[in-house]
Symmetry: C2
Subunit: 151 residues, 2 copies
DNA sequence: GTGCTTGCAAATTCTTTGCAACTTT
DNA sequence: AAAGTTGCAAAGAATTTGCAAGCAC
């Protein structure tokens, strides 16, 4: 049973693919549909399993390639999952968050801004019991800004 | 040239390992040292390369196993890296952030709280030009709370 | 018809596991 | 001496690439 909202998203997504010169094929529609409807983040393998129920001949490679394009068009986001992310940095105690240079990776911690207090309340308004969070800012550090100016 | 701060961290980390019944071995010291000193997040392979410079016989497996224990003791965090995280969820437009159930994955977006305005200022105080951010709250959704109560 | 897309098979890369030898406590 | 740890080799996963056939526009 498809709801209105995901129908609308589907249309929007298909248009976006077309507008960028990508083709709306039937395997792609299956994948778009799964991602539009899902109320939880999915891995490529999970998308693959669901896709095969609707279209048994679909290949895993198509999942990867479609996800790639969807991300390029900002239709989907990659969610932070501890068990997948192998990149590590020393932890701090308590209320600090990370600022990371997207060019060179240089990182610094900054203080929590009393945001954490808000987090619990936000969770509660959705009935969630908040147990943790992850906040990071991505940007360009002073050195990399200089270099791009000189380039 | 080691600075005071990373020396202090090293001591703290070694103590923490000992306190938990883990042994402070020389390969581990090399790895701890690299992670204490690094001013950017590192992948296991990057740690491995740096470790071999100091201790050529060290094995990649040791890196993985040491990172595992360090994470368990909360000495390091896993940083969100788009190129590694394959778990995807539909994107929203604009100022929304994600709330994710750590049990079942159920997710919801919540509004941005005008936090984004602060982000730029925070970045500037470190000389960074902020280009993006990732904020997600982890918690337990209503249904999963019920289930754990019944269990 | 043109050019993007698909699915297969194969190659690559990354991560985990089993085990005998070795260290730390 | 006991128990945790190491590195090797091998197994297992996950992701990417090459290519001929197929499909959308």
């Amino acid at each position: 049973m498809r709801n209105h909202k995901s129908k609308k998203i589907m249309q929007e997504w298909e248009d976006r693919l077309s507008d960028h010169g990508y083709r709306v094929t039937s395997p792609r529609r299956v994948i778009l549909d799964i991602l539009a409807e899902s109320c939880r983040p999915l891995t490529p393998l999970e998308v693959y399993d669901r896709a095969r129920e609707k279209s048994p001949k679909i290949g895993l490679v198509t999942i990867y390639r479609t996800i790639e394009k969807m991300e390029e068009l900002h239709l989907i986001d990659r969610v932070h999952d501890h068990s997948q992310c192998q990149t590590v940095f020393r932890a701090t105690h308590g209320h600090q968050h990370l600022l990371i240079c997207s060019d060179c990776g240089l990182s610094a911690y900054f203080d929590g801004l009393e945001m954490e207090d808000q987090f619990e309340g936000i969770g509660q308004s959705y009935g969630f019991q908040v147990t943790g969070h992850w906040l990071q800012l991505n940007g360009v550090c002073p050195d990399c800004q200089k270099q791009s100016r000189n380039a």
